[in-house]
Symmetry: C2
Subunit: 327 residues, 2 copies
């Protein structure tokens, strides 16, 4: 049974996991959907009520029935490197590849439909609340008056994009910024704006969840930190990330979040306040983990390799919700 990794050739984070799969003698096939239909090929036959499918990549042929798991790491745009690329060829290739893979019994990290839903920040905040995670007071609005009233109740605010990143190629993150006390909110009418109570933080927390296993790291805020530097991605690191215990009640909420979101992997960002409370900011279903592993020595890559190595889903459980008596 093979592990399929969908990612680009340059992806060194995938290499970290492949090392552990190789050490465990687990067969791995790496495929970049961008290589369809030059370096990669596919075929699936539906005959007499059964399906037989194959993928070929880098000269290796693998049966779709022989896949134990699919790791969606950093896949390229399907057929982007074809001799004559087009939007039409990309759509056809995406449908063929992901359509066939969706119907195998392979376990997903992460299921593409769950991953798509999990990117919606307004949905994340609601799910986090429902699972008992502390969420800083947040407003997403196109009503300037709603923004003004919110700013009166919560005078210390940050503003961030609803979607988290510019929809560009390559995607570029927009920093979270503090809202000036005399901000004019009339421009809110032109596009949805996310305002959130700024948490006076004493540390940033990155919690990496792999299946049931939770690995948390903590980076204290420097004593001389500028309170306007709210976005840890753009602030200079005061000290390395260090491993930290996950409070048991919070662990329960995080696992409930993952079940609710149907995710096998998630990178959670929290901020820790003066009382030690971890406030939920977001869960990135494809968040990087290499920098945490390098700083903390936590075995994230090995844990991912172990998760991917487990057996495939039993045949009858493949179509969620379908009547098992019939399907």
């Amino acid at each position: 049974m093979t592990v399929l990794i969908l990612t680009t050739e340059e992806d060194v984070t995938a290499d970290m996991v492949v090392v552990h799969l190789n050490a465990g003698a687990v067969p791995v096939v790496r495929l970049d959907p961008a290589d369809l239909t030059e370096g990669a090929a596919l075929s699936g036959e539906y005959v007499h009520g059964a399906f037989r499918g194959h993928l070929s990549s880098g000269g290796r042929l693998v049966s779709l029935d022989g896949l134990r798991s699919v790791w969606v790491r950093r896949p390229g745009v399907p057929a982007a490197r074809a001799a004559r690329p087009s939007a039409w060829l990309t759509e056809e290739s995406a449908q063929a590849l992901y359509g066939m893979l969706r119907a195998t019994g392979a376990r997903w990290m992460n299921d593409p439909d769950a991953a798509h839903r999990a990117r919606h920040k307004p949905w994340q905040l609601r799910l986090a609340q429902s699972c008992g995670l502390p969420v800083p007071a947040t407003l997403i609005t196109t009503f300037p008056q709603a923004a003004r009233e919110f700013a009166e109740r919560y005078p210390d605010l940050v503003v961030k994009p609803v979607s988290g990143a510019h929809p560009q190629d390559p995607p570029r993150a927009v920093p979270t910024s503090r809202v000036a006390p005399d901000a004019d909110f009339s421009a809110v009418a032109y596009g949805p704006t996310l305002l959130q109570r700024r948490v006076a933080k004493r540390a940033d927390i990155r919690l990496t969840a792999v299946g049931e296993r939770l690995l948390a790291a903590r980076m204290p805020v420097a004593a001389d930190a500028d309170p306007d530097e709210v976005d840890v991605r753009f602030a200079r690191a005061a000290s390395p990330w260090e491993p930290v215990e996950v409070p048991p009640r919070l662990a329960e909420s995080v696992r409930a979040y993952l079940r609710g979101a149907q995710l096998a992997y998630g990178a959670f960002d929290f901020v820790e306040d003066a009382d030690g409370t971890w406030w939920f900011l977001e869960c990135n279903q494809s968040g990087q983990f290499g920098f945490v592993e390098v700083d903390t020595g936590q075995p994230i890559a090995r844990t991912i390799a172990e998760w991917l190595s487990r057996p495939a889903v039993p045949r009858q459980a493949r179509f969620r919700g379908a009547d098992s008596a019939v399907c």
Copy 2:
């Protein structure tokens, strides 16, 4: 409790359903996401573990907690009609609107993530097989040799796109065509190709599923029909669609398909062969139904209105799979 319809202003099919909702005195709000942020606005507040959200469209304000259902008919591209449209504004608006709606207890016709998955033809064919629906022998491949061997086993073939439509604006359907007996399959290497055994049909079947209710219509093939005219969408109509009974075993399979696909609505295309067997071709989760209702008089619009009018999902069932003890 309000029904929200996401569609363009010109959508006359939606009008057919609105008539029935009005007759039942069910409140309706119609919103085209393209009108964000000019004619439509939104706001959602996450405070003290709770969420309060509102939508405004056409001068009407509705609470997101007060939505009983959302009908995704023909929604425009979010913020497409904004004063200064951009890919960034579209992404932000899509995330804000669909992210908030996903977290309400409203019932979906259809859930956007289920709808996305359900568009994948290779997945449809596998699910149909698993549910016991007869599927004509099909090959999806980029291997010319696999295509040649398939054509030897099944000499009478049709070819169709994997994705069903050109990814253009407006989308254009590509007709299904017969494969010439001396076809050269070498071009298969340049893009995934779907080959399917041609079913010698005596009728086309359109089965419209609305929740548990199945409404089927049948159009016999004209006696003098050209066997090369395989695509009913492009052939001239020999006679009107007529209501037809759904065979009980097939009905069971169709309902299993809908459960497996997590769809509340589906337009199934079958062809009926000389033995009376209905062969599954596809299920379009957003297929038109107006032309069938006009021909057959079947109460499809009324059935949709009735489905949309039912109460919302209980709060604890909103996040599928989440631990109800915690979430």
